[in-house]
């Protein structure tokens, strides 16, 4: 177990180093930081960015939108996913909606939302609509995959429903809940920042990126992107730690086979 995590993080580090090397080589080849700043320039821009006025309030404004959109999509996705996993008619009724939401470009939703909502609400609404079907279909799949033999066991031994929820259904769903969590959170970040570029709320990362674009501050654009990537990495790492703890029971398999 330990050995394999060690080698996997070693390979990940090699991958990151390779990416940075390609980036560095590209920037040297182009030789114009307006088109492609070097990694060092991007890092320097990030340093300036963090110290700039309003950085934290912009970061927080976007984070708050992400959290709202994500929380809404996760809560409703959980409810609808559980219902569609348990009841076939609900599953059939929801499937066209989900299929539609998966193909609709988020731009068309954003443009509509700009007409309907104040600019600060637009990113929340669009992020919710894009992340909701991911959570719902993941949870619904999880409900269907609960071991029927264990459901029978639960019936025969007349296990009370609250014990069945915490003892059987939640642990069966756990892998799906975790994957829905990371996917919906990542999706929310992408959508919130993109929708902010369109709807232009007074505070937020999207607005800052748009003004960096219009002033041709390419290093700053890269700095914001780096920041978002770092946030994504941090969230994944935190989730990975939770996952390792939650699925400890699987380790027994290693010394049986």
């Amino acid at each position: 177990m330990r050995r394999s995590t060690l080698t996997s993080s070693l390979y990940a580090a090699i991958g990151v180093a390779a990416l940075i090397a390609v980036w560095q080589a590209g920037s040297m080849l182009i030789g114009n930081s307006l088109l492609l700043p070097s990694p060092a320039e991007a890092l320097r821009a990030l340093g300036t960015l963090v110290r700039s006025r309003g950085f934290f309030s912009d970061l927080w404004a976007s984070t708050a939108r992400v959290l709202k959109g994500f929380a809404l999509s996760y809560a409703l996705g959980l409810a609808f996913g559980a219902a569609s996993g348990m009841m076939r008619p609900v599953r059939y009724m929801l499937s066209p909606l989900f299929a539609a939401l998966r193909t609709i470009p988020f731009i068309s939703l954003s443009v509509l939302a700009i007409i309907w909502f104040p600019s600060g609400t637009v990113p929340v609404f669009v992020a919710f609509l894009m992340a909701f079907p991911i959570v719902a279909s993941d949870v619904s799949e999880g409900m269907v995959s609960v071991d029927p033999l264990l459901i029978e066991l639960t019936k025969v031994y007349k296990v009370p429903w609250h014990k069945a929820v915490t003892g059987l259904y939640l642990p069966s769903l756990a892998p799906h809940l975790v994957s829905a969590f990371s996917q919906a959170l990542g999706m929310s970040w992408k959508i919130v920042v993109s929708a902010e570029v369109l709807s232009m709320p007074s505070r937020g990362i999207g607005g800052r990126m748009d003004s960096a674009r219009s002033f041709l501050e390419t290093p700053e654009l890269f700095a914001w992107t780096l920041l978002l990537v770092a946030l994504g990495f941090a969230a994944d790492a935190a989730l990975g730690a939770i996952r390792a703890r939650a699925f400890r029971w699987r380790e027994g398999r290693l010394w049986r086979m």
Partner: protein, 243 residues
């Protein structure tokens, strides 16, 4: 009447009958075996008795207010719960106390905090057994419970199970294809007929109540007789412990 009575029971899947016209009586406080080769609907019979499946014809007369516990053919343990957690899932605190005491008697001492994935098949099956034995339900249904348990373990375990269920006054239904299981544990047995129509029996075992030891001649003769009986069913060419 405390006995569980089955009258004219029939069950089919997609129009194909599994069995029909089954009449059986499972007497209060006794171990009744249902013997037959695989594919004669023995598991379906258990599923009908515990209410997981509804019969198409006939009836099951279960005394009022009496429930069943089941030893399933597979261990059916929740993989994310420890042995103790699995016991807690299916019973209240008092039952768990009884179950934990039983673990030692079944060679599972100190296994409380281990996960199912770390147990062998036979060990998992014994947890399945403890779970059903510790339950307060009056009727104990066992569906091929010993197929992953070796002969040596069986020779100790089955007479022990026979005594402990008798002392608690449980009504036991043991469904099996193994004559050894029947000879070691049952008081009476039925034979699932060849064509799925009805069952023969009940037959009494001709072993004195105490003599359930593997080296006992009476037991050997009984196993031999049961094997011949099963061979006469045509397809029943499996050995005493064949699987």
């Amino acid at each position: 009447m405390e006995d569980v009575i089955v009258k004219g029971l029939g069950k089919s899947f997609d129009g194909k009958p599994v069995f029909s016209g089954i009449d059986m009586a499972f007497l209060n406080g006794e171990v009744t075996a249902v013997l037959g080769p695989s594919g004669r609907g023995k598991t379906t019979l258990i599923r009908v008795l515990c209410g997981l499946e509804r019969q198409d014809e006939g009836e099951v007369r279960m005394p009022k207010g009496i429930g069943c516990s089941v030893v399933f053919q597979e261990p059916r343990l929740l993989p994310w719960l420890t042995v103790e957690g699995n016991l807690r899932y299916c019973m209240d605190g008092e039952g768990v106390g009884r179950a934990l005491k039983m673990l030692a008697g079944l060679g599972l001492e100190g296994f409380e905090s281990r996960y199912p994935a770390g147990l062998s098949g036979g060990e998992q099956q014994r947890v399945n057994l403890v779970r059903a034995l510790a339950s307060r339900e009056k009727v104990l249904l066992m569906d091929e419970p010993f197929s992953s348990i070796g002969l040596g373990m069986k020779a100790e375990l089955l007479p022990f199970l026979r005594e402990s269920t008798a002392s608690e006054g449980k009504t036991v239904v043991l469904v099996t294809h193994s004559p050894v299981d029947v000879a070691l544990m049952a008081d009476r047995f039925y034979l699932m007929s060849d064509d799925g129509r009805g069952a023969d029996g009940p037959f009494e075992l001709e072993i004195e109540k105490g003599g359930r030891r593997l080296d006992d001649d009476g037991l050997g003769r009984e196993v031999h007789k049961l094997m011949k009986l099963m061979a006469s069913l045509g397809k029943g060419g499996q050995g005493p412990d064949g699987r």
